[in-house]
Amino acid sequence: IYLDRLELHGFKSFPDKTVIKLHQGITAVIGPNGCGKSNIVDSVLWVMGEQKIKNLRGENNEDLIFNGSSSKKPLGMTEVGAYFSKEDEEIYIARRFFRDGESKYILNERFCRNKDIQDMLFQLRMGGTNYFIFEQGSIEKLVSLKPSEKRMLIEEAA
């Protein structure tokens, strides 16, 4: 299974629909401070189901929606989509959030609940994968996880 591409639309500093195609091997993302690199990391965490906004450096869910710039108005919603390839099959998950507080979850062609996405990720053996997304400064914390949390990592691998 591999992640074929991400689509960010209205997510944090990405107002325009942005496709990030991922390849096999190592993809590096570079750019000056503040240009939006870590926002891409946040979008992966979010589409995979992160529920705590503070883990995405925000305080309110609205912080995820493009809030405007000197040349563009704020948007009313955000959507992040992820396409996974499994043998010949393509699996699409997406998540939307609206300023009025409404959330939508999408699996392939239909709306669903967050739980359905989590179940699908578990089937694809990517449940709990948040452990393998390391935001700035977080890699060091792996060694200081609680003993029960370290155990969880072994259990998930087993």
């Binding site: 993809t27 240009c35 390391f134 370290k150």
Partner: protein, 157 residues
């Protein structure tokens, strides 16, 4: 189940020690069960002793040493069961040049089974990448992505 946990644990424990010795060029380390008699509930502990040093509280390790120890553990998990993808946001920020090289050698092996997305400011890391995307904010406040061709490794988006 108890059998697969103990099998996974033993292999990962072995991998962890091997990886630690590669990343630190020696030293001793251990992934240990806090209650070996209670396989269903026991927590895990990491002990790390860089070469020539005495075993000390993990907190006393340096920033770079903590990162390397974490990577030794993470790679031990991946060698047992590769994750389809892994995202690193500036994990090389606290590593010196020599340790970045050791880190990149690991990625070179692991990337066959795992897609890595690495955010970095480091030139050696960029050289190791198979693809590079640049993010820019030419229009202030608006992020745009562009692919960059690498000399000798011409790629398209």
């Amino acid at each position: 189940s108890r059998v697969s946990f103990s099998e996974a644990f033993n292999t990962i424990k072995e991998n962890f020690l091997k990886n630690f010795k590669i990343l630190f060029e020696g030293g001793e380390a251990e992934l240990c069960l806090m209650e070996p008699d209670d396989l269903l509930e026991t927590g895990l502990e990491i002990k790390a002793q860089p070469p020539g040093k005495r075993l000390l509280n993990l907190k006393l390790l340096s920033g770079g040493e903590k990162t390397l120890t974490s990577l030794a553990f993470l790679f031990a998990l991946f060698e047992y069961k590769p994750s389809p993808f892994c995202v690193f946001d500036e994990v090389d920020a606290s590593l010196d040049e020599a340790n970045i090289q050791r880190f990149l050698k690991f990625l070179h092996k692991l990337k066959e089974k795992t897609q890595f997305l690495i955010i970095t400011h480091n030139f050696k890391t960029m050289e190791e990448a198979d693809y590079i995307y640049g993010i820019s904010m030419n229009e202030p406040g608006i992020s745009t992505i562009y692919s960059m061709k690498m000399t000798g490794k011409e790629k398209e988006t």
